[in-house]
């Protein structure tokens, strides 16, 4: 919203979109719980719940179209991300993986839904929340499965490695398990959504700016818009992919924590 006014305010000079454009002001007064990203997250929970409750409420052997649609997504997460990666104990984690996948997917796709057009996960807070939960879940699962002593020992001293290597390996392992994993999983999601949205803004707002310029610039502006549309399709791919990757990594971390050999 702000950018739509800011690039005009300078009297014809184009101001490229920046991280300012991701800081949306509260809709109601100063209440910082009433920003657009927060409303979008709440909205996503409502529509996801309605859709999947409707799809599964009368789940039967021969599915209706709605049930089939919901069930396909569920079966994909359950079998391809849960069963194939975690192994025989997968069923405990299916609700979490499924919630993750549909939550991230919906909030990502908000980025290209007309009128909404804001990927919630480009606000890093939400990506951190999910990263923290995944971090907590896979460590909790590992400690419950192996006992705290063995779990820590397996992390600090990876079995089957010559002793001198631990000097190098142990710090790396500690960093991997405590910092790198939760941070990268959050940042990857955030950065993809952030960059994608920035890219879209550049082409759409740039096209708009060109349209208001001289005649020569007006002729170029359709190309900017066309590219913006192409990027939109590309963004859709990235949005689905990032939901998949986040869920996949979570499943891999859980599977790793449950595995008897690291």
């Amino acid at each position: 919203m702000r950018s739509m006014f800011s690039f005009r305010a300078e009297g014809g000079e184009f101001i490229p979109p920046s991280s300012k454009d991701f800081v949306l002001p509260p809709i109601f007064g100063d209440n910082e719980f009433t920003t657009k990203p927060i409303f979008l997250v709440i909205f996503s929970v409502i529509i996801i719940s309605i859709f999947f409750i409707a799809a599964s409420r009368k789940a039967s052997i021969v599915p209706s179209k709605l049930q089939f649609a919901g069930e396909s997504v569920y079966a994909y997460v359950r079998n391809d991300l849960g069963k194939d990666i975690i192994g025989h104990e997968f069923m405990r984690f299916v609700p979490y993986l499924f919630t993750l996948f549909v939550f991230i997917l919906t909030n990502n796709i908000f980025g290209i839904v007309p009128l909404i057009q804001f990927p919630t996960m480009s606000r890093i807070s939400f990506a951190y929340v999910l990263g923290i939960i995944t971090f907590a879940v896979f460590h909790y699962v590992g400690i419950r499965h192996h006992g705290i002593f063995k779990y820590l020992k397996d992390i600090l001293f990876m079995p089957g490695v010559p002793k001198p290597v631990y000097i190098l390996l142990t710090p790396i392992e500690i960093a991997t398990y405590l910092i790198v994993r939760p941070l990268t999983i959050s940042l990857r999601l955030f950065a993809n959504m952030f960059a994608g949205h920035l890219l879209l803004m550049i082409f759409i707002l740039g096209g708009h700016h060109l349209l208001e310029g001289a005649i020569g610039l007006k002729l170029v502006s359709p190309f900017a818009f066309a590219f913006g549309i192409a990027i939109t399709f590309f963004e859709f791919l990235v949005q689905c992919l990032q939901a998949y990757i986040f869920t996949l990594l979570t499943a891999l971390y859980i599977g790793g924590a449950l595995a008897d050999e690291h």
Binding site: F52, I61, Y74, V102, L187
Partner: protein
């Protein structure tokens, strides 16, 4: 916080979290997780289970039906071969019995014929004997009467009379 929030060029640092968003993020995700855990996943799992059972049940039923059909086939074949051998035995039996009946009837007929022949012979013999006796008496009386008429001599004496008759008959037989 504000000095960190504003990075170089006045743009806010996008890597710093926002407390309201963190709170809402946890609550929203938690709620969604609860809905999935309690409402959605169990229903889908129920449908999956029912589907698996339906397919397995169908396969089992088909296998059972096939096994039953195979059993029935074996049974029918057995019955058929049994019936065939039975009918073979019956035919053989009937043939043997038929031959026996014919044989018996022939024997009976022969016996009957023999009996009838024998009876006929006996009756002929009896009649002949009767005829011989009656002829002897009558021929005797006639001859005596004739002789007495011819000879003119009364042959009152019984003994002599019969002697004469016997002699006459002997002569008669000899001359035959």
């Amino acid at each position: 916080m504000s000095h960190i929030l504003i990075a170089a060029g006045g743009a806010p640092n996008p890597l710093l979290p926002h407390s309201a968003e963190i709170v809402v993020g946890f609550i929203a995700f938690g709620l969604l997780y609860f809905v999935m855990l309690k409402k959605v996943v169990p229903m889908f799992e129920k449908a999956f289970k029912a589907r698996t059972e339906a397919i397995q049940g169908g396969i089992e039923r088909a296998e059972k039906a096939q096994a039953e059909a195979a059993d029935a086939l074996v049974q029918y074949k057995e019955q058929l071969s049994k019936a065939q051998s039975e009918s073979q035995a019956l035919r053989e039996d009937a043939r043997v019995q038929g031959a026996a009946i014919v044989e018996e009837l022939r024997a009976k007929a022969q016996e009957e014929a023999a009996r009838i022949t024998a009876a006929a012979h006996a009756s002929i013999e009896a009649e002949r004997q009767q005829a011989v006796t009656s002829l002897r008496n009558e021929v005797g009386a006639l001859a005596v009467e004739l002789a007495s008429k011819i000879v003119g001599e009364a042959l009152d004496d019984q003994a002599r009379q019969s002697r004469i008759v016997d002699r006459f008959l002997e002569d008669l037989e000899k001359s035959k």
